[in-house]
Symmetry: D2
Subunit: 144 residues, 4 copies
């Protein structure tokens, strides 16, 4: 799906917004490549982010899925608009076991008020990616 | 809905499991009251847990909704069984703005393999609670 | 949750709208009691509505959950506004086995643009209700 | 994703099961192409299947999304196993306006107990397809 950004400066705006996502920085998640309708996040595994069996916590996986989808949608927003997650559903497919996680969000519809996105989260082991979660969510455009 | 726990020792088992949820401790979330089919989590707001507008991050809210539902289900598990989140859907209703968050999970069905739970997350301001998220999810019982 | 309808004539408007839901009439579903923020649907079981094991089909259950939630939200709309389902998630808890189904929708948030609703679908046997599905969805207000 | 069917006779088994989906036949939905991990449904628009604005009803769209995903999962089941929808979430992206609908389901994980599927429903106008709904769901394998 080829999307045309409404704001040619979308990348700078997205990176400035991300820099204020204190919680994502606290998790150690970084905004990787972004393109119109797509965004990628990277996170190195750390002991603080685990659950009772030593895997990365579902809450971390869910946060990555949500935010990757959110920035994918945000790349298509007009200048000055803010974003709000309306809802997200996440299916956990495999334990998030690996050195790192990669989350990829992509827009499937960019409407005037609502954007619909898909997200996938992969666990990375020796460069090989295993799909560990799939998400489907909606985000809202808030104009000033 | 009155549930009878399969394991009379459910509270100790749940609290021991929670103590190994490194990520929840890292967030500063505490397991409050639990009862058969119910669990409550508490979290004090902290600057590290915020998003771009200074509210508590949706990822934090989602993690609380997931884990409150998970421990609600876990209270009804037989001894020795472990738990896995299959999926969760969360609707965000209001900004998570407050001094603290309370998440409440309750079981609506406790099956042999799958448990279905509802969660609600409230923002607390001067003791008043505002509903900021509602969740509906499934968890799986894993037997040794 | 006590809601005040924005349109005092909400019941007549909802019943007129429902009368144009050709598919619901085709299923044989009837709009039962409605109140501000609540709506109930009734459906008699029929052989045409079954799945491969003779239970009422998940698609019928899902349609009832969606529409009960939709009319619950619609009772709180201002005059002249139309409604659109944004998304719904449904967990199936038990086979829909019975003489009839009852679906109940209730609003948990009625916002300017989005309404969030919960639905429950019950199978009825000799007057006893068994919860067979739970839903959580969002609907959008469309102004003329 | 290339899947290997556990039952070489998967297509005949799926078509026999579908022939007992009385409700789908009642809607006029037909099982089109199936392949390991994929299934397609076709439905001609009819006045009985519409909602208040004359579009195909969301309940019809949801039923197609659910069943297309279900048969996609079912193609990978071992002989003798039955299927149950655990849950599905559907985002409605555009009015289902067209001469026909096509629903496509695909498996993203085929586990021992749970299968996770994605579905898409398209409205067809003069041969052109418009995406009108996206789903993400889980199904359970029931062994005899």
């Amino acid at each position: 799906m080829g999307f045309t950004p409404r704001n040619p400066d979308y990348e700078a705006v997205a990176r400035q917004s991300y820099a204020r996502q204190t919680f994502m920085l606290h998790l150690g998640a970084q905004l990787g490549e972004i393109a119109p309708g797509r965004a990628e996040l990277h996170l190195k595994a750390r002991q603080e982010l685990t659950q009772q069996n030593g895997f990365l916590h579902g809450g971390v996986v869910a946060a990555l899925a949500d935010v990757a989808g959110g920035y994918a949608a945000f790349t298509l927003f007009e200048a000055g608009a803010d974003i709000l997650t309306v809802e997200i559903k996440i299916n956990f497919l495999a334990p998030a076991a690996g050195e790192a996680l990669i989350a990829r969000g992509e827009v499937i519809k960019s409407g005037r008020t609502l954007s619909i996105v898909r997200s996938e989260v992969f666990a990375v082991n020796d460069g090989a990616e295993t799909l560990c979660a799939a998400g489907l969510g909606s985000l809202m455009t808030r104009r000033p």
